[in-house]
Every structure is written in C-alpha cells, then in structure tokens.
Amino acid sequence: MKNVDFDWKPLALVPLLALLVLPFIGSSSTWVTLTIAGLAMGMIIFVIASGLTLVFGLMDVLNFGHGVFIALGAFVATSVLGAMADYTASGSLLQNLLAVLPAMVIAMLVAAAIGLAFERFIVRPVYGNHLKQILITMGGMIIGEELIKVIWGPLQIPLPLPEGMRGMVLLGDAAVERYRLLAVIVGVLVFGLLLWTLTRTKLGLLIRAGVQDREMVESLGYRIHVLFVGVFVAGSALAGLGGVMWGMYQQTVVPQMGAQVNVLIFIVLIIGGLGSTTGALIGALLVGLMANYTGFLVPKAALFSNIALMMAILLWRPQGVYALSK
C-alpha cells in the first residue's frame, strides 16, 4: 500500500475544524468539553456506522434495513443486561464489563444470524440494483421493526447504563462522560480491525471487484457469493454492536431507533467516501464535532449542521473525502 501517496488533507480537517471554532467559543474549558465530547460522540457514531461501511460502502448495497440490526442489537442488549442485573448494578467496572461484553457478543451473534436470513431473502435478488435495494430493504426494515414490536412490545424499554460506567470524568474544568471514553476504546478497536482486514487481505479488493463484475470474479475462481454473504453478515454483526453502544448511550431503546439513525449514518458514509473505513471515521468525527459546536454556538442551526457539512464536503470532493478512485 506504500505505492500510493497517502492523502493527508482529509485527516487534517478534524483538528482544523476544532481550531477554527476555538475563538468563537471563547472559554477554553468549554471548548475542551465540547471537543472531547464531540470526538467521543463521533466514535460512537463510527461504531454504529461501521457495519454500513461494509454493506453500503464496499458491497454497494443500499441497505435501508441496516437500522433494524442496530435496533435489534440494542433490544438484545436490554434482554441480556436485564438478565444480568446483579452485574450491572454493581459499581465495579470489571463486573459491569462482564455483563456488557456478553451482551455485545450475543447481540452481534443474533444480528449476524438475522443478517444471514436478510441477505438470503431480501438482498440476494437485488444485488446491483439500487432502486430495488431501496424498496426491498425498506420492506425488510418495516418487517424487522414490526417483529421487534411483536417480540419486545411497542413500548420504549429502558437500558440503564451499568453503574460503573455512569458519571463523568473531570479533565480540569471540562467534564466528559465516562461512557464516552469507553466508547472511544470500542471505536478504536473496531476501526483497527476493519482497517486491517480490508487493507491487509484481498477481501476488500474482491468485494469491490465483485460489485463491478460478479461474473468475472467467479470466472477467476472465487466464490463471490459466499464472500458477499460473509461480509453482509459481518456488517450486520457490527450494526448489532453499534446498537448496543447506541442503546446504552441513549439508555432507552425504541423499535424505531434504527430508522432514526439511518440518515445520520448514511451522511457519515457519504462524507467519508464509499468503501473507505478511514473516510467513515473522519466523517463520524466531523459530524460529532460539528453537532456539538453548532449546538453551542447556534442551536437553531444544529439540525442542519450535518447537511451543511455534507454539502460543503461534496462541493470540495464530490465523491466524499476518500473516494476509491473513479
């Protein structure tokens, strides 16, 4: 991968944005609070978007049903954590983790299993056709959401954060929620794993090639179909993980939560450029920061900050910050 010069400009966007707003915010402790909170938020967003970088970014499947896996992960977490109330109620972080980790693993497994079925029945007939993907995955989304209601009921369900993960850490005068710091760790792990898999193995290449010309990849002797299933399932599992993280952040889960984050994560991917993990990370960080800065400076505009950001980026680079050629 050393043959091509690495493009540093997009990476510089993040610190650039942070420095740019400093004079407007004035108080440096406020700025630190907002910046750290924003970056950590970005990491959470990255985790929930990471699955979609595989499914949409790499496989080019416009999966509107992706949100269902996020919701599913969160609902599974309510059940698992509910069953392990002793561990979550304890103030010890270690015990909390002993509950949260299994919740994550189980949520990922369940999401992966459902992902397998979703790929088979919903996505397989429509590879390569965006319009049909939109329709059929929308259908899948609605079905998934309704099934969640059938199983868990239509009510919002509280997902209390384990005792030891609550509260905040004071960095000087700036307060940062403890949970966000935890999310950063998860985010970094997911990012590292994805980056490694996609750049150090042929997997990423094969998927991209398969999207362009499935028949040719098969003619080269690869069972692209199996690969697609695998990647889709992995994407769903990551969405499940994202759901756990997001659910614990919100501390309540509703069946509609998947649909609520859908647009957000699509925006992150567009900013990042399809198929680029690093791009998605940058997109997520920018969105997280931007939300906090505009929320503080001009709360009215906070709503449109994502869209404005996306438009600005697309005017600069119409393919997103890291476009995979073309």
Binding site: L62, F121, I122, P125, V126, H130, L131, K132, I134, L135, I136, M138, G139, G140, M141, I142, I143, E145, E146, L147, K149, V150, P154, V263, F266, I267, I270, L274, L303, F304, N306, I307, M310, M311, L314, P318, Q319, G320
Partner: protein, 371 residues
C-alpha cells in the same frame, strides 16, 4: 381521437386496458355506486396519488433520477393551498394565489435540484435528497407561525366546495349533492387532465430523449443532447405536477400538516406504487395507485377479520393483529420486488410480447455452410 388523447401510447395489452377502464370508471362513479364516506375518501386519495405517482414516474421511470425529495414538492403544493386559505380566507383567488406561489417555489427548488443532480454521483444524490427532505419536513414544523407547526393547518375552502353547501335538498340517486361531491369531481377532472398531459410529455420527442439519457447519459450527450437541460426540465416538470397533486390533497382534506404531505412514509408509498405499477409506463401509476391505496386503506380491516379468524393460534393471531399492519405492508414491498420486478404493466405487456415474438435467435439464417 382516443389515440390523440393517449398520445399514441396504448396500453398494448387487453387485460391492462380492461384494468385501466375499470379503475377510471370506478373512480368516476364512486360517489354513486359505493356508498359511504370512507369510500369517497379513499377514492379521492387514489386520485391524488395517481397524479403524484405519475409525476414521480416521469422522474424515476423515464429520467432515471432517484430522488427522495418528491414529497417535498407535494408538501409545497399542499402548504401553498393551506396557507393561502388560512391567510387570505376561503376564496377562489386565494386558491389561485396559493397554487401559483407553490408552483413558483417548486420551480426554483427543482431547478436547483436538477442542476445539482449532475454534480454528484447518482447514489449520493439520492441520499442527499433524503437528508434534504427530512430537513424540509423539520423546517416546516419549526416555522409554526406560518405552517402551524406539527399541528398543521385546518382551514375552510370556498363555500361551493364545502360539505355544508347543498346544491339541492333532494338527494340524487341516494347521494346528496353537496360541495364535497363537487370537490370530488373537480379532483377527478384535474387528475384526468394531468395524467393525460404527462402521457403526452413522455411520448413527446422530449420524453424519448429522457429515456435515452436514462439508458446511457454519456452517449446521449455524444449524439448531441444536452443532458443538463433535459434532466433539469424533467425534474422541474415532475416537481410541478407533484405540487399540483399536493394542492389537490389539501383541497380535499381541508387540512395539511407535515405528516400529511411531507412524511417519508408517503415517499415510500410512492416508490412502492411506481414499482408495483411498472416504472416508465405512466399507466402503472394509475393501476398501482388504485390497488395500493385501496389495499392500504382496508388492510387493517382485513387483518382484523383474519386475526379474529385465527384467534385459536395465538402467535399467528399476533402477527395478523391489525396493529401489525405495517408488517404486511413491509412484506408487500418485498414480494412486489420478487414477483413484479417490472411491475404489473410490465408483466402484462411482456406476456403479450413473449407470445408474439418470433424465435429471433434460433431461426435459420441463410448460411453458405449449410447448403
């Protein structure tokens, strides 16, 4: 005569022709043959959706632009009428002013969208319109001074169109001749004219160029068509028709709010109808809207019956509960993509085509080797 009206674009399939006739005749006679307020409401909604979906078909089916912002124009039309009536009172000039202002706003926005669609790749464009539509909806609910916010606007229409206006105290064929009936026929005629106009547009030389651009933009440019101009014109036309559909809706409901005309759900319904009906056919919009709106309106009732019938099987009954009607709607999405990839119109037409087509490839060609 009929050929002129239909712009030489015949249904090209007997079943399809019969279906179309059934839809049109039913809509024309609904007030007299299907009693009840609900039926009339459903029929009016069908009329509105026919125009809305047909206008979207121009954009999606003929031009190949996937935009999620179509309901935005629908909403602009509805809000135009609603705001005008609220502000200016229930008069005809108010209606004209509302529609005109809405059309103007739609024109400007569609122009911007049409031009922008060329800058970014198609899939990004659709995601951007998605975000835009969401932002527009939020904006509409935030500008509560003008739009009534989340609560929307309830307003009065010119008195001849309002239900309390009776043209004769004697019911005609058991139907009271009131303003509501007049409104219904106003919608009916408007829808008919607008659909025929769309049919004409897609069958004009312009419409054919749109199809070419959809198939191969690069080559269309190379043989001398300026893609920007065509795309933008199409985006604008489709937006204007959607705006009119919105105006029809507001006139019928005498209410408008963000959920009623701007919600993403409507966008989904429109997408689904286009696909079920058959993209790039216009006729698909008519058949699809008829089927879908009726099915959607009575789905809950049907489910209630089904759920009661299966009350012995609790899990099935839970799935068939009318509260889970969306589940079945979702299933409809999935199945329609499975079984109607080219829509009802496409399917019917290909049935005929397949039976008529000569054995193109296998037939003997003169060949020196096989003397």
């Amino acid at each position: 005569m009929i050929a002129r009206l239909l712009s030489n674009d015949f249904p090209r399939n007997r079943i399809l022709a019969v279906l179309l006739l059934v839809v049109v005749v039913t809509l024309a006679l609904t007030p007299f043959v299907i009693p009840g307020i609900k039926a009339l409401n459903v029929a009016a909604k069908v009329l509105v959706f026919i125009v809305l979906v047909a206008s979207f078909d121009l954009l999606l089916g003929y031009t190949g632009i996937v935009s999620f912002a179509h309901t935005m124009f629908f909403g602009i039309g509805a809000y135009g009428v609603a705001i005008a009536f609220t502000r200016l009172g229930p008069t005809w000039p108010a209606l004209a002013a509302g529609v005109a202002a809405a059309l103007a706003l739609s024109f400007v926005l569609a122009l911007a969208i049409g031009l922008f669609s060329l800058r970014v790749r198609a899939i990004f464009f659709s995601m951007i319109t998605l975000a835009f539509a969401a932002a527009f909806q939020t904006l509409a609910s935030q500008l509560s001074e003008i739009t009534g916010g989340e609560d929307g606007l309830t307003f009065k229409v010119p008195s001849v169109l309002s239900p309390s206006h009776e043209f004769s105290s004697e019911p005609f064929l058991g139907v009271s001749l009131d303003g509501r009936l007049l409104t219904y026929y106003l919608l009916f005629v408007t829808a008919l004219v607008l659909v025929l106009a769309l049919l004409r547009i897609v069958n004009s030389p312009f419409g054919r160029v749109l199809q070419a651009i959809r198939e191969n933009e690069f080559r269309a440019e190379a043989i001398g068509y300026r893609v920007v101009v065509y795309r933008t014109t199409s985006a604008i036309l489709s937006a204007l028709f959607a705006t009119l559909a919105g105006a029809m809706l507001a006139l019928w409901l005498r209410y408008n709010g963000p959920d009623t005309s701007l919600s993403f759900e409507i966008m989904l319904d429109v997408l689904l109808i286009v696909v079920i009906g058959g993209m790039g056919t216009i006729y698909g919009a008519v058949i699809g809207s008829g089927l879908f709106v009726v099915a959607q309106s009575y789905l809950q009732d049907l489910l209630r019956i089904a759920s009661e019938a299966t009350s012995g099987l609790p899990w099935l009954s839970a799935l068939l509960s009318p509260d889970r009607w969306l589940l079945w709607l979702g299933l409809l999405f999935v199945l329609s993509v499975y079984y109607f990839p080219t829509g009802i119109v496409g399917k019917l037409r290909s049935m005929r085509a397949a039976s008529k087509r000569p054995p193109a490839a296998g037939e003997p060609r003169h060949s020196p080797a096989l003397k």
